[in-house]
Point group: C2
Chain length 326, copies 2
């Protein structure tokens, strides 16, 4: 199968407005009047960011989801994406069909059509490199290094599920795994496989967040990175970090898993800072948007790694720091 | 070295306006008022699109050049690019330093700064995936399938040098290679290594070309693809296809190399169609822009593969059709 035939069969049906059925060498995109484009690129590689045996539709969902999570954290509405796909020597048409089915479903769910890309063969693992484009009203992209002293630190959803889902897959016979119900195991595995970018919160972040980023490399490391950029520190109450019932049960069975949950990757939740005066309005809008929100701490003047306090007020440190996909 | 340290040392110095030193998770880009963005993505892979032992600065130039060639053919002015870089297990800092030096030089030469990207490790060959963004006045992107009957077919520069440069590297002891002077061999090798996107012609193409694309997979196959989209055919005079002195000497020594020259890849010239009434103005502006131009044939009503005529009026066919990098 030639590259042109492959594009016509598998990718052309995914093409959005401006991509003209992928029949040209480039696509056009016009931002809404008065808007900036927001650009981000993240790649996932078989054996590094996902298991080669994962369902291809899940791999597709992850490739798009990890990028749209960045757009959501920046307050942007998706406009489209380009895909660089490196196919390994053993690729098959059913795998590619599953992948493109997953891309279509994810793009529809996220409102982010395909605008272009490239398919290459490589004598190595499969790689999906996505460039995602979103837009915000001019000058309103939510930035990372702009937290202010006294701001409250908020996170969406629950933290650590994906890291525990990965741990579960790497050591399915661990004692803590046996203590979970099947639905709890499914929940953790699903969180690892299927990022849920918090696009519903994007407009609310633009209105109220002083700084934001998505949590992709572990809450501990990502929060530290966000505040390092601002030259600030923080105190966080461990008890306020939201855990799912499955994660809470896992951590109760094996307390060391708290470190895994807080320093592992792939949450694709949002951590942000909000001035105290805006907190009620922010929480109200998040609730209306259906996005669970927890306040976990405050930004403090002292630069340095955030301090995590347990129920007795003692500070805990997490040796792993940030998870690294690299 | 962590990914963050690698970004700070090697990539942050390349960041353009809107990328804020790569200190955030996304960049902003605002098209000029009244302009559309033009988007394209092309990846190059070690051992497929270049030799792993090529100088890293040349690899960088190629990664950016093949993308900007697409922008040029669409009449677009570059605005910036995002880079997905997959590093093989044996990557070294000197290699990365050479690569980023090459990216900086090419980005300056082409007026196209780095806006973002991602660096991943992969248990396979190095891969550079570029997404390039340009802009055109709204609605003026030069399209591929819009050639009209009677239009003249033009190509920039010279055709086949890069394909012969590749052939020379694959078979340096071939008889035809020995017949070339050292400067001629250098010319062919350089054309393979270093695409020269025809950005100087972009505005002229917008004014006069009815259709255009860049020649990346061989003139024979690319012209056929352009006209297939229009449902048209063409007659091309082989004698009018511009060859460099080095390519002409190679073809004189080994006539079969004409097929290599016309169906091999990596020219990164532009093939376009221009209405006869516009031809003089188009040629005048190309001359003023310093872009050599040749008229090689005409668009005809009959659909079907373009016919290539030799000096006696006999038609020649080229079995290889289009070169495939895939």
């Amino acid at each position: 199968m030639t590259e042109d035939a492959l594009i016509a069969r598998y990718f052309a049906p995914l093409a959005g407005p401006g991509a003209d059925g992928l029949r040209d060498d480039a696509a056009t995109l016009t931002p809404s009047p008065g808007h900036d484009l927001v650009l981000t690129a993240d790649a996932i590689v078989a054996g590094v960011h996902y298991f080669p045996e994962d369902p291809p539709a899940s791999i597709a969902r992850k490739a798009l989801g990890v990028n749209l999570s960045d757009l959501a954290a920046k307050g942007a509405r998706p406009r489209g994406y380009l895909l660089t796909l490196a196919l390994p020597p053993d690729w098959t048409e059913p795998w590619l069909a599953g992948l493109t089915d997953g891309l279509r479903e994810a793009a529809e769910a996220f409102g982010c059509p395909l605008l272009g890309g490239d398919t290459v063969r490589a004598a190595g693992p499969a790689l999906l490199g996505v460039t995602a484009l979103g837009e915000v009203p001019a000058g309103t992209m939510v930035r990372r290094p702009t937290a202010r002293i006294g701001d409250r630190i908020c996170v969406t959803g629950t933290i650590g599920d994906a890291a525990l889902g990965l741990a579960l897959r790497l050591a399915p016979d661990a004692a803590w795994v046996a203590g979970l119900g099947e639905a709890e195991r499914d929940h953790l595995r699903d969180r690892y496989l299927h990022p849920r970018p918090r696009l519903a919160l994007a407009a609310t972040l633009r209105r109220y967040a002083s700084a934001a980023m998505d949590v992709s490399d572990g809450l501990v490391g990502d929060l530290a990175k966000m505040l390092r950029g601002a030259g600030r520190g923080a105190t966080v109450d461990l008890a306020d970090i939201p855990l799912s019932p499955a994660a809470a049960r896992a951590v109760a069975a094996a307390p060391d898993l708290l470190g895994t949950a807080l320093t592992g990757g792939d949450d694709y939740e949002i951590v942000c800072t909000v001035a105290p005066d805006h907190l009620d309005a922010f929480r109200g809008e998040a609730l209306a948007a259906g996005v669970p929100l927890a306040v976990i701490g405050s930004v403090e003047a002292d630069a340095g790694a955030p301090v995590f306090r347990d129920g007795e007020g003692a500070s805990r440190s997490f040796a792993a720091g940030a998870f690294s996909h690299f």
